[in-house]
Amino acid sequence: MTTPVTIRIQSADFDIAAEIAALTKARHDVGAVVSFSGICRGGEGKDAIAAMTLEHYPGMAEAEIGRHVSEAITRWPLTGVTVIHRYGRVVPGDNIVLVLTASVHREAAFQAAEFLMDFLKTSAPFWKSEERAGGDSSSTSWVDAQAHDDNAAARWKK
């Protein structure tokens, strides 16, 4: 039996409770569902932002996330995986990304969720730009990739 996988790239927000419920619907073998949701932060002081825009590479985003989900399923015994990643404009407090992993026992779900997030941060083709608070539309800047995200992803190399 293949593990049910849901991968969606969308501009709309997502309903976390509904997505979690979908992983346990009509089955009683799932003992653990781990949920990670990434949220747009507002920043503080001179770093305060009014909004964030996520650019993405349609087609490759789905393919790249699919590859990492397939690897997670190979490495851990999972009963289901859901990844939803938004694109477009979001404001502080908005959801950006959802990773759900389900398994019989909790270790697989916890580890697979962290693995997937570490790779989403470094190899999923999305690029964030931020609009500074204060209404000056010319102060938009691209967010830089972080070395600590590369280091986190490197931990999982076998």
């Binding site: 993405h56 190899s123 690029w127 691209w142």
Partner: protein, 83 residues
């Protein structure tokens, strides 16, 4: 082949995509970047720090020494900031 640009690479070049027909001696991703740099200042600006540029062929990440022959779609972009 179709070449796509994203984020500030796209902004500096001024295009989201184009169709290119590089000569046969442009063999690798690195060769293609150098060939683009010679086409104009906007490309030179985009690829000014080649080590920071990432590439994908047909939706898969590739290294600079990857051969481009047979590629349908090549994309150039900065390090990713998804998740």
């Amino acid at each position: 082949m179709k070449v796509l640009y994203f984020a500030w690479v796209r902004e500096r070049i001024g295009k989201t995509e184009e169709t290119l027909d590089p000569p046969a001696d442009v063999r690798t991703v690195a060769d293609l970047m150098q060939w683009l740099v010679a086409r104009g200042e906007e490309y030179a600006n985009a690829f000014a720090s080649p080590k920071t540029i990432r590439a994908a062929i047909d939706h898969t990440h590739v290294k600079p020494d990857t051969v481009i022959a047979g590629a349908r779609e090549i994309a150039f972009f900065p390090p990713m900031t998804g998740g």
